[in-house]
Subunit: 142 residues, 2 copies
DNA sequence: GTGAATGTTGACAGAAATAGTAGGGTATAT
DNA sequence: ATATACCCTACTATTTCTGTCAACATTCAC
């Protein structure tokens, strides 16, 4: 039940963009360098996020990426599902093509359904703005 | 964020044991055959479950496995954590050896902590007995 | 006791998913 | 023009997951 690097890197990068929301585009190599990640790899993730409409790209010199909307309107859930696919612990919950041998008799499905519901509730309730606020709060304490 | 076959097979097998709780040991090949799984593979999972004290093995002819306690005292959470390891979406939540670069400044950790909490709450609140009850309820409706 | 059934263990190998690399192409600010 | 930075696709390496195999230990039925 681990998140892959796609979700982890992507969320962290989106958080970076959120921190600089409204300041114009930020170059990818900037973010990649700051987080010690491969620029090419991060590019692949950003491509997906862009197609999903979460970020906007600006080509050319001085170009880069920026959030497509306000940090308080972008949820962690949207980001993670875009990069990781649906968050279902098993495929039979979401994939029409997967049929359990005895579908309506599957006692475990009942468990998995509760897991995904709970998970989605949590990640859909947290926005990038929430992350920023939480961070600020923590720094106040120090 | 998928559950591996370890968790899925193991939970389903434990459910089988729960259905026959109090009827003496059940042979592994019985369960393996019923679910179309490799007996050897399931064996590995049962070995782990036994060491955790969730099931008891009876060796020799007419031997097999049975639950170590009443189905209502065995939670799905205990089973899944035994087979899958902790359910943390990232290692830095649980593994002392993993240090984020800027630990107390990591804004994403805040998100992951809520995910694992929510997940653990759900799976710890469901027992094998709950699964049996739910199943019965569904069969009544049909 | 003996043989058959069953559990125990660890090593190993194939398959699949994940992670990362490489490189040529395109748009744009200056 | 040219440098910068996004765009896209294919390929490779690595890791993890799944499953197999084989030798061994224990217990039961007789």
């Amino acid at each position: 039940m681990k998140l892959s690097t796609r979700g982890r890197y992507g969320l962290k990068a989106m958080y970076q963009l959120a921190l600089h929301y409204g300041e114009g585009p930020i170059a990818l190599n900037n973010i990649a360098k700051k987080q010690g990640l491969s620029e090419n790899y991060l590019e692949q993730l950003f491509s997906v996020l862009r197609k999903e409409g979460l970020i906007i790209s600006v080509r050319g010199a001085q170009g880069g990426y920026m959030l497509a909307k306000d940090p308080q309107h972008i949820t962690v859930g949207h980001i993670l599902r875009t990069l990781e696919g649906n968050m279902a612990p098993v495929d039979c919950l979401t994939d029409e093509n997967v049929k359990c041998d005895r579908e309506d008799e599957c006692a475990t499905k009942f468990v998995y359904a509760q897991m995904i519901d709970s998970l989605n509730n949590v990640i859909d309730s947290i926005t990038l703005q929430d992350m920023i606020d939480e961070q600020k709060k923590n720094e106040m304490i120090k």
